[in-house]
């Protein structure tokens, strides 16, 4: 590969949920719950996943459109404070190689009747993906998280 260009960007997404920080946190920490909501569309599937939710543990999923999964996310949990904070770092790849490396911080704050969740992703984009596309993906995913938390 020649002249690889890296674009750095930071995205911040805030969502309010009408449940306690403990419940929002559990949707991240419970592997079964996580696999229900952490895909960016109803027609997308997770073909394989590993959520070893502890500091140093692996966070992996192989996912994509139904019938043609082609993306893999592979990372590590760097810091976990129950009901408050999750810090992860890892890469996202497709069959051609790495698309991005990211440092992700999820903060949970009790606020009003529920929880304010702030998701910050600091990324180095190495392919064609952009921060705008990443925001779109997370917006879909967090819509599904909202449904999960209502259930």
């Amino acid at each position: 590969m020649t002249a690889c260009k890296v674009v750095h960007d930071t995205i911040v997404i805030e969502r309010r949920f009408a449940v306690s920080p403990a419940r929002v946190f559990a949707a991240w920490s419970d592997p079964n719950a996580r696999d229900r909501w952490d895909v960016p569309g109803d027609d997308w599937v997770i073909a394989e996943s590993e959520h070893d939710f502890r500091v140093g543990g692996r966070e992996y999923s192989y996912f994509g459109p139904r019938g043609a999964p082609r993306y893999s996310g592979d990372g590590t949990y760097l810091r976990i404070i129950p009901d408050s904070l999750i810090v992860m770092a890892g890469t996202m790849s497709d069959e051609t190689g790495p698309m991005s490396a990211s440092l992700s911080t999820v903060e949970f704050q009790a606020g009003g009747p529920g929880t304010l969740m702030r998701y910050t992703e600091q990324s180095a984009f190495m392919g064609d993906e952009t921060a705008a596309m990443r925001i779109e993906g997370w917006t879909e995913i967090f819509d599904r998280l909202e449904v999960e938390l209502k259930g």
């Binding site: 890296v6 810091r79 490396a101 911080t105």
Partner: protein, 154 residues
């Protein structure tokens, strides 16, 4: 404002070296070459380090001023393109307290017989979460070191 917060920050450093990208890359990839420049200030004495330069490989480096807190650098390589790019995440501890985690990208570009190096660090500073511990461990060490340097016989 809640004290449960993380500060995110990005900074960039650009340098030019009179050496080929292959040589600059080697200074990051070869443990012996790296030990020649990737070390603490001279007064810290020798660092203890270990590195495994491949995607998914780890690197650790520990050092500090005598009597001060131990600064630990723990990195994981996320992406490596020989002579062009190195991406790693690292966290910094002062003694046992994790203070920041960062995503770092090093890009090497040939530039008129030399190399342009662009370093980008995107960091999350976990100050608020560690405040009491940081005050006790980190800053006390810093202040102790300062105090030691102010000793009358110094």
């Amino acid at each position: 404002m809640s004290n449960r917060s993380v500060t995110h920050s990005t900074f960039v450093i650009e340098r030019r070296f009179d050496a080929s990208p292959a040589r600059v890359f080697n200074a990051f990839a070869d443990p012996q070459a790296k030990a020649r420049w990737f070390s603490g200030p001279p007064e810290w004495g020798p660092d203890i380090s270990e590195m495994d330069f491949r995607v998914g490989g780890r690197e650790t480096n520990r050092g500090g001023a005598p009597g001060g807190p131990v600064h630990s650098f723990d990195a994981t390589y996320q992406d490596i393109v020989p002579n062009e790019r190195i991406v790693f995440t690292y966290d910094m501890h002062l003694d046992d307290v994790r203070i920041s985690v960062s995503l770092t990208t090093i890009e090497l570009t040939p530039d008129a017989g030399g190399t342009r190096l662009k370093f980008t660090e995107q960091g999350a500073f976990l100050d608020a979460f560690d405040k009491p511990a940081l005050r006790e461990e980190g800053t006390k060490g810093l202040l102790d070191a300062l105090e030691a340097s102010l000793k009358p016989d110094h």
